[in-house]
């Protein structure tokens, strides 16, 4: 089981802030492919991963990063703080 969090418009498109997912995905990209296949709202949120960022256990990561040992994955658009 992995905790998956969504922020900003990713959260709005998917319609929830977080969920627990049972997955055998080896990498972030595999997880994204799996989520895309679920429902139209996921396909919409993950249509363009170039517009997305990912954090693994609260550290920024690449989409090619492995998920082994990861407890928390977060997807969000580029940050706009400051």
């Amino acid at each position: 089981m992995i905790e998956v969090l969504y922020f900003a418009w990713v959260r709005e498109r998917i319609g929830l802030p977080r969920e627990s997912i049972e997955t055998g995905a080896a990498t972030v990209a595999d997880l994204v492919a799996e989520l895309r296949g679920r429902e139209a709202r996921y396909a919409a949120a993950f249509a363009d991963t170039a517009a997305l960022r990912v954090a693994l256990d609260q550290e920024l990561a690449d989409f090619s990063a492995p998920l082994a040992g990861v407890r928390e994955v977060a997807f969000f658009p580029p940050m706009t703080g400051g």
Binding site: A8, A55, Q58, A74, M79, G81
Partner: protein
């Protein structure tokens, strides 16, 4: 100095008082000769913006800011660093965030403050949404903000 820089980070929904924070930062600056403070304010844009909502990633936010501040303290000789960043609903004219740096020399204080701003803008997990008369819109990241990181 770097090893002993006093770093304070606050992530909060409540407004803060820039003057009081600047005043409170000076004693914390120890032997420093130079203090630089930056304040970001919600701009009104001629009635186009009713309010702003800032979403963040609790847990990661504090870690990311502490990492950025720690990196600044490694790169420059700093006595103290303060970062305050708000989340939640803000109206035009309100303070969004501030940074303050204290260093023996002014160049280090200025550079570290600009470094903090550049990294907070693109590497701390905050997302701004603008709510105006025509609806709500997530602020898009500016390419120049990403490009700004290249100078460090």
């Amino acid at each position: 100095m770097a090893a002993t820089a006093a770093v304070r980070v606050r992530v909060q929904a409540a407004p803060f008082d820039y003057g009081a924070e600047c005043g409170g930062f000076v004693p914390a600056s120890g032997a420093s000769g130079a203090v630089v403070s930056f304040l970001g304010i919600v701009r009104g844009a001629a009635g186009r913006l009713a309010r702003m909502e800032i979403e963040h990633y609790p847990g990661m936010t504090e870690k990311a800011i502490a990492a950025i501040a720690g990196e600044a303290a490694r790169r420059w000789s700093l006595d103290a660093v303060l970062v305050i960043h708000r989340h939640g609903a803000l109206v035009p004219g309100e303070p969004i965030m501030m940074v303050a740096t204290a260093a023996p020399h002014r160049a280090a204080a200025f550079e570290a403050a600009e470094f903090l701003m550049d990294y907070l803008k693109s590497r701390a997990p905050f997302w701004k949404k603008e709510i105006g008369p025509d609806g709500a819109e997530w602020v898009a990241a500016a390419e120049r903000d990403e490009a700004a990181l290249g100078r460090w």
